[in-house]
């Protein structure tokens, strides 16, 4: 068992997501940076769907009442166990009674803590991923206990290497979206040539993105959207949809990001600049 001494800014349980319920309007959820989350489970030989913790900007403080093997990935770079620094992107043995402080994210926004065997809990609609109205709580709270099955074979897996992605890149590859052809040629050119800035309206549902030069498109009849869809509002703001997004939307879907591109964008903070590298 693990006791949450401090929850950090915004910490949630995530697995690969809540699939099979989008026809009922239920978001899929899942990690903001799927690449880093998959790395954490991969380092431990966990199932890809094993539940892990996602931290935002400032991580939690956790007291381990049982021994465990963990891996920390993503935007955390100063974690400590009993005030001694530990490495990220590698499996770590934790002794019973240890205090793990995840610390702050120096760059990027989302970090992940996977545990050998995955976190346990009550699944709602086939997933542990926190989501308002579906799970009892919306996020991890101070004083809460987290459960896992201590693994009988406590050997640290050593052979697995993480897939590193470069969040600092300011060029994000993007596919043309279903409504790309609604753009006039000037707007289409601006989309490739302009600089974009992550606004301060960012959440697990989506990031509003400001553009340096105005780009506009009219609204569409409500149609399917998914994480990674880039919508263009009539007022000229872009919205990059994230894992907690709605299943349908009425803004023009001008671009679509891959999981990897979405993971890079998710790690960008308010005020960061980037451009799109658009391909078919």
């Amino acid at each position: 068992m693990i006791a949450i001494i401090s929850s950090g800014i915004y910490t949630t349980l995530q697995d690969t997501g809540r699939f099979g319920f989008r026809k009922y309007g239920v978001p899929i959820s899942g990690p903001m940076d799927a690449v880093s989350a998959n790395n954490a489970n991969h380092l431990l030989n966990n199932d890809i769907n094993a539940a892990l913790l996602e931290f935002t900007l400032q991580g939690a403080v956790l007291k381990f009442n049982h021994p465990a093997i963990i891996a920390i990935t993503g935007a955390t770079n100063s974690p400590t166990v009993n005030d001694e620094s530990i490495s990220i992107n590698t499996p770590i043995k934790i002794a019973a009674g240890s205090m793990l402080k995840i610390g702050r994210c120096a760059t990027g926004s989302f970090g992940y803590l996977a545990i050998l065997g995955g976190f346990k809990g009550e699944k709602r609609l086939n997933s542990l991923a926190h989501y308002k109205g579906i799970t009892t709580n919306q996020r991890i709270l101070k004083g809460e206990s987290l459960f896992f099955s201590p693994h009988p074979n406590q050997d640290v897996p050593i052979d697995n290497k993480p897939t590193m992605i470069n969040w600092k890149t300011n060029e994000i590859p993007a596919f043309k979206g279903p409504d790309f052809n609604m753009l006039d040629s000037q707007s289409a050119n601006l989309l490739s040539a302009s600089n974009f800035i992550v606004s301060n309206e960012i959440s697990r549902m989506g990031y509003r993105i400001d553009s340096e030069r105005p780009i506009v498109a009219r609204e569409i009849i409500t149609a399917p959207v998914q994480p990674g869809t880039i919508q263009l509002t009539p007022s000229g703001k872009l919205i990059a949809l994230m894992p907690d997004c709605q299943t349908t939307g009425g803004y023009a879907r001008i671009l679509q990001l891959s999981n990897k591109s979405r993971s890079i964008l998710a790690q960008k903070r308010t005020g960061e600049h980037f451009s799109f590298n658009i391909c078919d």
Binding site: F19, G20, F21, R22, K23, Y24, G25, V26, I28, R124, L125, G133, I134, F175, P178, I220, I221, T222, A223, P224, Q226, G228, T229, Q246, T247, T248, G249, Q256, L257, S258, N259
Partner: protein, 240 residues
């Protein structure tokens, strides 16, 4: 049947598009395509999301656009027209009292009609369920009479109660959970639109119809108590 334009939609997903017109007959055809896709690919799929004029198909693993298109376009559609189950008409009791229908006078005034005409017009015909979106269990309904259309509130409310029946522009809908929103509230239903404890959390399917029925505040309380006790059975019939 009109064949869709099929494109990729990010990784492991496809989008089928028909002309952008909201129309019950075309939506019926789209539902037939949905049934064909579901039966052709079954457990290879994560999700199928349908809307007014599109279907998004989300696969668990990689499949090429050619394989996907060829599979569904090679099916003899004439043999598949009966693949769908008959749609259901669901009777949804609504209390239109001003105590629960906070904005019913606004809707009446905007349309120059008497207050009790709002519930008369709202219950006069069934509404087609096009799809679910926006919130878990929120139905996109078609068929609001012209004399009920009312713009959204300029400032959205922080909390619209679960069960609120509301109007925004030419749309009408039922809030499945407490939520912020700018819709004009004309009444409230005690019916649970989304129930997590059920294997399929919503009973309403695209192509079904919703028939609203006006009830008193007393009946609203009575039905609420029956639902609480697990004794209420929603009235439904095969849609003609």
């Amino acid at each position: 049947m009109l064949k869709p334009i099929i494109t990729t939609y990010g990784e492991n997903a496809f989008l089928l598009k028909w002309p952008s017109v909201i129309d019950a007959k075309m939506h019926d055809e789209i539902l037939t395509w949905e049934a064909i896709i579901a039966s052709s690919f079954q457990n290879k799929l994560y999700d199928i999301v349908i809307t007014y004029t599109e279907i998004a198909v989300y696969f668990k693993s990689n499949i090429t656009l050619d394989v996907f298109s060829n599979t569904i376009l090679s099916i003899d559609l004439q043999n598949e027209l009966s693949i769908r189950q008959k749609p259901t008409t669901w009777l949804i009791p609504v209390c239109y009292d001003q105590e629960l229908g906070w904005d019913i006078e606004i809707v009446a005034k905007h349309n120059n009609i008497a207050t009790d005409q709002v519930s008369n017009l709202h219950t006069a015909q069934p509404y087609r369920v096009y799809f679910t979106g926006f919130l878990p269990g929120f139905l996109y309904l078609g068929g609001l009479p012209k004399h009920l259309t009312t713009p959204r509130k300029e400032t959205p409310r922080l909390k619209i109660p679960k069960g609120a029946v509301a109007i925004a522009g030419s749309q009408t809908g039922i809030y499945p959970q407490d939520s912020p929103g700018g819709w004009q509230i004309i009444g409230q239903t005690p019916i649970e639109m989304f129930n997590l404890s059920k294997a399929s959390p919503s009973r309403f399917a695209p192509g079904d119809y919703i028939q609203f029925q006006s009830i008193s505040k007393d009946m609203f309380e009575g039905i609420s108590a029956e639902i609480e006790a697990g004794m209420y059975h929603i009235t439904k019939s095969v849609h003609k």
